[in-house]
Symmetry: C2
Subunit: 227 residues, 2 copies
């Protein structure tokens, strides 16, 4: 079965306080997005990447693609207004008889091992959604007040959210609604329960300057080159 990774790199960088969108910031001399693409290209030799970027960042994205070992395995699609639109645009470039991972471009620390586990589990179970425990106490806002939640039942959701193409593609033919906050919610709305698997604590989203610092350190450590 074919394997695709739809990588959504649509952020504008506003939370970071930087002019350059976060997926193009440099980590040890390479853009954040380079690491993300490299992980998926390394996971399977026959995997095809669909990179979804806003038109305004297409040139920057093409420059990253040109740095990759296998640029011919990367297709570029246009980002939309919502994440749902962006993913749908990416899915227009894939076949239904497939397994498809949808991933945040700024989660550059996901491991090859996690990607492979997601594909293997989605192939068997229909879907694979990586989640991790929450190490802080959690509260739920209710009106003016709040109440403590049982933290052991709360899971933080990561990507790659991975699905059989024959579940994911039909689900994305739905009309957008505000409850579609990630791919799992879209597939659930189409009537398919999703399958959770264990994610990785280091698989963080680079959204703040501090995240970038951490990612740089972890990449250095993985290379064994020190800080």
């Amino acid at each position: 079965m074919k394997k695709y990774a739809v990588i959504v790199a649509g952020g504008s960088g506003s939370r970071m306080g930087t002019a350059v969108p976060k997926q193009f910031l440099l980590l040890q001399g390479r853009p954040v997005l380079w690491y993300t693409l490299n992980t998926f290209l390394s996971a399977y030799e026959d995997l095809v990447v669909v990179l979804v970027v806003p038109g305004s960042h297409r040139e920057a994205a093409q420059a990253v693609v040109a740095q990759m070992g296998a640029p011919e395995r990367i297709r570029v699609a246009e980002g939309g207004v919502t994440r749902f639109d962006s993913v749908r645009n990416g899915l227009a470039l894939v076949e239904e008889e497939s397994v498809i991972a949808v991933h945040d471009g700024v989660r550059c620390l996901a491991s090859v091992e996690l990607v492979r586990r997601c594909f293997a589990e989605a192939g068997k179970m229909g879907s694979a959604i990586p989640v991790v425990d929450c190490k802080d106490s959690v509260r739920w806002i209710e009106g003016e007040g709040s109440r403590a939640m049982d933290r052991s039942r709360v899971k933080l959701v990561q990507t790659p959210q991975t699905f059989l193409g024959r579940l994911l593609l039909p689900a994305y033919r739905a009309e957008y609604h505000a409850g579609f906050t990630d791919e799992a919610t879209v597939v659930e709305a189409a009537g398919h329960p999703v399958h959770l698997i264990e994610g990785e604590v280091n698989n963080i989203k680079i959204t703040l300057a501090a995240d970038l610092v951490l990612a740089g350190e972890l990449i250095s450590a993985a290379r064994g080159t020190g800080g």
Copy 2:
């Protein structure tokens, strides 16, 4: 009104994979706990710290106290089996006519500004619980399945959790039960709703090796000395 900070430094370091408990690991040459103590001692000249440590770490804790600028403002209490027990032991050393912050020893990146806001708000409102938004999607485990939660209503809870002594001390006279996962839940069980305030994204709990790396970088950056 008197000001106290009960700092709970009870962890055994098991999640870190290190022999040294995480509150004693070095960051830029100083123990994690040093930074935590220093922040509270710096916030107010008249604040008294009650440091709660397990008997097995008392000597290590005393060594850190000896490094502080104002060791005479630090009292040491014995840790208990649960966090509830540890906090209660710490509260035995404070007066009721006071404002009391309870803080995780391994949250060494809380700012002086956050500490002051907690005391000011708790003085006015009775309590101040710092919380931050959750940037990942969130799911709630239900039986074999799970469902998406509205992330905008989920808050991640930090410390210092700060209270008027006349609310906190009577609340800790209760019998322990499993729902007491932090100080806010104890005070709520005594019939007092808690007041949430904005926390800080960098105010992380050092529980994994990656957190220590990040904390080191942030402390370097704050000092302007680079990595």
